[in-house]
């Protein structure tokens, strides 16, 4: 069996069986992943943008309301009114009712002197002329500060409004509870790591940050401050610890504060990562299944191909063998015919010589009677050798005979004992026990009974010869067995416990003119003829043997159709 072509075919089948399902498999997985990733990304980003936008709205509303509260006081009361002792306290208590975010309230003249103060600290009389917030509010009329420490050394931020009254400016300032404000800003939670905080234009934290960072800490992250547009910007950047975050930023209050919402990238795209994880698992499992299936199927297909090829080879060999046998048969038939003619002449000449010799002897005309026995012996020998030649040509002619078998339904249970009977006497003489095992379950065979008889007799005679060679006239055993075989044919087994066939000779037993018998004893055609006959009946013959142990010939015959 050639291995190379199967290897090549195996490779081709395996490659196509792996690649063909892999292409759509990988394609669908990657397309699915791509669209899922795109959808999830835009979804996540827009959610961040919405959160930032809503949050900004909320904080701005809060600040605007607080500013409006102060502006209302500023316009509802005059400077002088509020300077009256107790007056500011009343206003402050009203204000605190409006919003608990107010911590204190104070009035300043245009020189920055804290004229009146209402709140938990002692700040009356302090001068704020040089402070940033005072300068800004004097300039613009309204100011919301960044968070700073101020005189009280506590982080806070203020809202201040200024009014010009009778040619003099005065300022109303309120401090906002930074804790409360913090709570508003901080009240954003997105997933596990999502948070929002506010940065001043100088990068100082205006609210505390859940992931670390107290009020007024400098934010170390290198944030790209967006341009002055109102648009919300989203981007991915690393923080100081190297974690990647998805950021959404928006300016509020005229680029004064930057609202930042951020979420760890791994958290924001958690679904994407689990999808990727799932896809990897599916790829591995699916790939393994495809590989295993392809390997199994390929092995199966190549195995079938090899089996079919082997069968074909076997069939071819049988065909070649059969045609060779037929050719040989034809050739040897012609040859036998040609030999028989001269043989006939030799025989006649021999008869003539013998006859003349007998006459001479009778008439005592032989002058050298001493050599007469030699002469007669020689003549006998010629006759014997002619007979031997005749036997050979007869066998050859039988072998080459191409008569059509007359197959019929043969019941082996009845038929085999009849055939065995023909050799029973010969076997009995040599002390051979003949056993027949033909169970009732053996169906009738479709075979020419005369030809089968010829085959069986031949096998029986061979078996008897083999037994005699091994055992002499004691302990021989010949078993004839019939049974249905698994392929739906009938098997007839002829087993002897004779001398067996040498392993070297075993493949040659059916070859014409092959014999192990001494010259003159066998023509070497018996088994070849048997093989030809059984083959011609649609059956087959096989042999198994162990030298010194015995031989089994197996005849397989087709079952007769009922």
């Amino acid at each position: 069996m050639q291995q190379a072509p199967y290897k090549a075919i195996q490779k081709i089948i395996l490659a196509s069986m792996i690649l063909l399902p892999f292409i759509p498999f990988v394609l669908s997985l990657s397309i699915g992943y791509y669209f899922f990733a795109a959808a999830l990304e835009s979804n996540t980003v827009s959610r961040m943008e919405r959160i930032v936008s809503d949050h900004r709205q909320m904080i701005e509303t809060f600040l605007n309301e607080r500013k409006a509260d102060l502006e209302y006081i500023l316009h509802a009361h005059s400077y002088e009114d509020l300077l009256q002792p107790g007056s500011l306290d009343v206003v402050f208590s009203l204000l605190q009712k409006e919003s608990s975010a107010f911590v204190d309230l104070g009035i300043f003249n245009d020189q920055g002197v804290h004229e009146r103060y209402c709140g938990p600290f002692e700040l009356t009389g302090k001068i704020y002329l040089q402070t940033d917030w005072f300068k800004e509010v004097m300039k613009r009329g309204v100011y919301i500060s960044d968070i700073f420490l101020g005189y009280r050394k506590i982080p806070h931020f203020v809202i201040a409004v200024a009014r010009e009254e009778k040619g003099r400016q005065w300022v109303l300032r309120a401090t906002i509870d930074s804790l409360l404000f913090n709570r508003i800003a901080e009240g954003v939670r997105i997933g596990k790591t999502g948070e929002a905080y506010i940065l001043s234009a100088r990068g100082i934290l205006q609210t505390s940050r859940r992931s670390g960072g107290q009020l007024m800490d400098k934010c170390e992250d290198t944030l790209q401050y967006p341009e002055a547009s109102a648009e919300i910007q989203t981007f991915i950047a690393k923080d100081i610890r190297g974690n990647k975050f998805l950021y959404a930023t928006a300016w509020m209050k005229e680029r004064h504060w930057l609202l930042v919402a951020r979420q760890k990238k791994t958290d924001a795209f958690k679904d994407l990562y689990s999808a990727a994880y799932f896809i990897v698992i599916v790829s591995i499992v699916g790939g393994a299944i495809i590989l295993a299936t392809a390997c199994c199927l390929t092995r199966h297909i190549v195995g079938r191909m090899a089996a079919v090829d082997a069968e074909k080879d076997q069939l071819n060999r049988q065909l070649i063998w059969a045609s060779r046998l037929a050719e040989l048969g034809e050739m040897s038939a012609g040859f036998a015919h040609e030999i028989n003619n001269p043989l006939q002449i030799i025989k006649n000449e021999h008869s003539l010589i013998a006859m003349i010799l007998a006459e001479l002897k009778e008439k005592h005309r032989i002058t050298a009677p001493d050599s007469l026995p030699d002469l007669e012996e020689s003549l006998d020998q010629i006759d014997l050798q002619i007979q031997r030649c005749a036997r050979i040509t007869q066998s050859i002619l039988k072998f080459g005979r191409k008569s059509e078998p007359a197959a019929m339904k043969v019941d082996l249970k009845q038929y085999i004992p009849e055939v065995v009977e023909l050799v029973a006497k010969k076997a009995g003489v040599h002390g051979i026990k003949v056993l027949q095992k033909i169970p009732d379950s053996v169906p009738p065979a479709h075979v020419d009974p005369d030809q089968l008889q010829q085959v069986l007799i031949n096998l029986f005679n061979n078996a008897i010869d083999a037994i005699l060679e091994k055992h002499g006239s004691m302990g021989g055993e010949l078993i004839i067995e019939g049974r249905p075989d698994p392929t739906g044919m009938i098997e007839i087994l002829v087993t002897d416990n004779g001398c067996g066939i040498r392993a070297d000779d075993l493949p040659k037993v059916f070859t014409p003119f092959f014999t192990t018998k001494p010259p003159g004893k066998g023509t070497g055609l018996g088994l070849a003829v048997c093989y030809g006959i059984i083959g011609g009946q649609g059956g087959s013959m096989a042999v198994e043997s162990q030298a010194g142990r015995g031989t089994t010939f197996t005849i397989r015959l087709p079952v007769a159709s009922p």
Binding site: A336, N340, I345, N348, L352
Partner: protein, 155 residues
Amino acid sequence: MEKMKIMLVDDEERFLETTRKLLARKGYDAVTAASGREAIRQLESRHIHIVILDVKMPLMDGIAALKEIKRRFPPVEVIMLTGHATVETAIEGLKSGATDYLMKPISIEALIQKAEEAFAKQMLLEEKIRLAQGRLFMKSPREILKKAKDPSAPD
């Protein structure tokens, strides 16, 4: 009793010669012919009882010669001799009117035995014919006379 006359037909000259000698020594008259044509030519001029005919010969093969002999000389008994005893040739020969067939090589004794059997069969047949003809003569001289005048009249 008539003496048996045998004709041997074979293309092997030496076979014819030796067999004729052997037969002569055994006390039989034998003529030989080297081909089917020659056999037929001789049959025309001689009275022969038994023809021993080789099946395989050049020019006119044994079966053809057999058919010709049986057609033209029906009483002659033909024994087929063959170097190739196939059942088919034997059946064909017997169907075409051969009495028997023999397989080469054959001993002279066997040959004579078969020839004698065939001759006995022939003699028996001739005896029957003679008897029948005798009865015919016994029947009615007038009828015989009538038949002589008009051969188409039924017996």
